[in-house]
Point group: C2
Chain length 424, copies 2
């Protein structure tokens, strides 16, 4: 097991261990936000037949060459084709057919004239323009042909893709399975949300934060509860987590007397890859994996993240390492948050040797993004995490970012780029 590795080495390790999960067939609404494991090939053509794009009259062109508003041409309305009925009759040269948007046009029709450009006169219609060939006719197969690969492997299903699938009659689709993430906490000071907090006890809030973060990504959190500070309790909780795709524990992975997670994991057969990443917050992060566990959906056993117990440290470690791993398991290719280049408003200092993720707020000013520390960077202060727009990357070897320096910020707020006006 390596200790004290760099952030980049930790990224390489965790992402190198993560594989996209197998596909499963789900109803299309359950596929929303998920990625295809198999291409969607159409067994239909769309539109299914030549059809009208407008309410109006299907016509042949021969008789209409001279039609103008002042010199309309009158055609007999031979029949009507409502939407959803096949068009079996053909049009004779001086005939028209009443058609509606989406309705098939007669086989011999050469264009559709919008009803705005016509005037009804008994069983005849006066046409006052000469349409272009094919005007307002949508040809059979114009959108999709039989055999077309309409959505490719890896495609993420959004509302438009749901619409495409529906129009092809596909009520189910094969997407990557959602990762099951077992979440557990450790520490005698921890209680559940409605627990008694006298005597310095605190709520195991990390489990709530991390469960919510999993849900936001589309993963399935499995909350396993709180282990006490005894190895048997820690071991029992981990054993119950072995069927998950990923285990995320918080606290209990440092070097204190009460930190039983590492020995317990090793005893259960976990191959620990590293402990300790040169970052702040979040140094005491452990990562390993089980090579095989019966009952695991992916063949291999679960990945294991032992996150620090401090809420901010746990959240930052989740952001950097667990989030991209879960996204990769779901077949996503865009694993990382948006990055902005920003200007540092107030000087930042630290000791070299660890990369700092500085919680910052961002403001657009003078044509650039300005970043300001949220203040107290103590890793217990979760409210500052809630207030932060992003994490500023203060590189490992740097000791100072002067006011006015540029830096990179990972944008955490999902709605950060949205606007309060339509933009025009």
């Amino acid at each position: 097991m390596r200790t004290g590795i760099s952030v980049q080495e930790a990224y390489d390790s965790v992402l190198g261990s993560a594989q996209p999960l197998r596909g499963e067939n789900v109803p299309i609404f359950d596929a929303l936000g998920r990625c295809l494991t198999a291409p969607v090939v159409s067994q239909r053509q769309l539109p299914p037949a030549d059809c009208s794009a407008m309410d109006g009259y299907a016509v042949r062109l021969g008789a209409l060459g001279s039609a103008t508003p002042s010199n309309p041409v009158e055609l007999r309305v031979a029949f009507e084709i409502p939407a959803g009925r096949a068009a079996h009759q053909a049009l004779e040269p001086l005939e028209s057919a009443r058609v509606f948007t989406g309705a098939p046009v007669p086989r011999t029709a050469e264009a559709v004239v919008r009803q705005e450009d016509t005037e009804v006169n008994g069983d005849h219609v006066r046409i006052n323009i000469c349409p272009a060939p094919g005007e307002h006719i949508r040809n059979a197969g114009e959108d999709v042909q039989i055999g077309d690969e309409v959505l490719g492997v890896g495609c993420r299903i959004g509302p438009s893709e749901i619409g495409v699938l529906a129009s092809l009659g596909r009520s189910g689709v094969e997407v990557h399975r959602r990762p099951r993430v077992a979440i557990l906490s450790g520490g005698d000071e921890l209680v559940e949300i409605d627990g008694d907090v006298s005597g310095g006890r605190i709520v195991a809030s990390n489990a709530y934060t991390l469960s919510a973060a999993c849900r936001m990504l589309g993963a399935e959190p499995l909350y396993l509860g709180i282990a006490s500070d005894r190895p048997e309790s820690v071991g029992q909780l981990f054993r119950s987590a072995l069927a998950a795709d990923c285990i995320v524990s918080t606290a209990g992975v440092s070097v204190g007397d009460h930190d039983h997670v590492r020995p317990v994991l090793e005893k259960l057969g976990c191959r620990l890859d590293f402990w300790g990443v040169r970052m702040k917050p979040g140094y005491p992060l452990a990562f390993g994996r089980f090579d095989s566990v019966p009952g695991s959906g992916n063949g291999a056993g679960p990945l294991v993240f032992g996150l620090p117990g401090n809420p901010v440290s746990a959240t930052v470690c989740f952001e950097q390492f667990v989030r991209p791993v879960l996204l990769r398991m779901m077949g996503r290719r865009d694993l990382w948050r948006p990055i902005l280049e920003v200007r540092v408003v107030d000087r930042l200092v630290k000791k070299p040797g660890r990369l700092h993720f500085v919680r910052v707020t961002l403001e657009r000013r003078d044509g650039e993004w300005q970043a300001r520390s949220t203040g107290n960077q103590s890793s217990g202060v979760m409210t500052s995490m809630a207030r932060a727009d992003g994490l500023l990357i203060f590189p490992e070897e740097a000791s100072e970012l002067i006011a006015g320096a540029t830096a990179q910020v990972q944008v955490l707020d999902e709605s950060f780029f949205t606007r309060d006006s339509a933009g025009f």
Copy 2:
């Protein structure tokens, strides 16, 4: 009722009619992504007591002034305070107490020395540094005081906010109700997803697209099915939708003989505000509202959107008008998609008089965003909507955007700004 209004007039009308929905108390996990209707005021202080930020030894400072690695000071380990136990004993000047991360420190402790900076010697510990006053002690209330407004009205609940709420022992919270959106389709050519598509019939795919779009926003779609092209059928479906917060129908709102939606709505008491917006796709959009309907959660009756039947038109109208309305109902302030200024790669032309929303793909090149039409802009071609990164705004009075011109693009793809690397 106004007809042929501008896009801006339509924005003003629909947003002027939308109000945030009332609050409801929900379990915190159901609040994820939703906005607070009442501030969250803490009834606890966090940390609950002065506590240790590290595993180590709580000490008084007096005896340690001279401690260095080569000249350590030895203190008696008087007692141990596990996490989750109150610290009742006080430290005498030459005593220390074994403490663990998150555990309360004794009342008289002045600092915590990390165990890495100590050496145990029987029931004594050798300390080889002199800590600063308060070092590694997190003070009671340092993060949150009793009475602090921790999260304000309008705050959107994400994972960090869930963690903050959990740490305060708040298992429920008051957020804006999710809008119930009744979705219905009209047209004899329409069938459900598993229906028979012979004779030119097509799946009512808009209902699927729009239901998915509602879900993505956090609204509750209520799918009411397909009305036939008879006024009684349309009326029956609309009556069953009156308890919703918003009704979205597609097709049946144009000027054709089979378009029964407008007369039906008027007969039911809907006050139609406009029909027809100077845009493409999406001109035949109708909007109105019911001033009061018994059983509606918001006092007033539902807002009604009659969207065009063409899939792309329906989706673009939803984007421009229904989406911001639903977000406002949910108490959101960021109602609009991200906007990018882009360079137009290929010349675009149109007739003046309607604003065009052009489906484009975006590419970052030479330090700028370049926009390219997805090709066929027919409003039936839903696959081009699925392929588009955004909608380029081709202004109403313009007739040409030359290659190299700049334009604004509404970015539709939620993951557009994410990265394929950590960014450093």
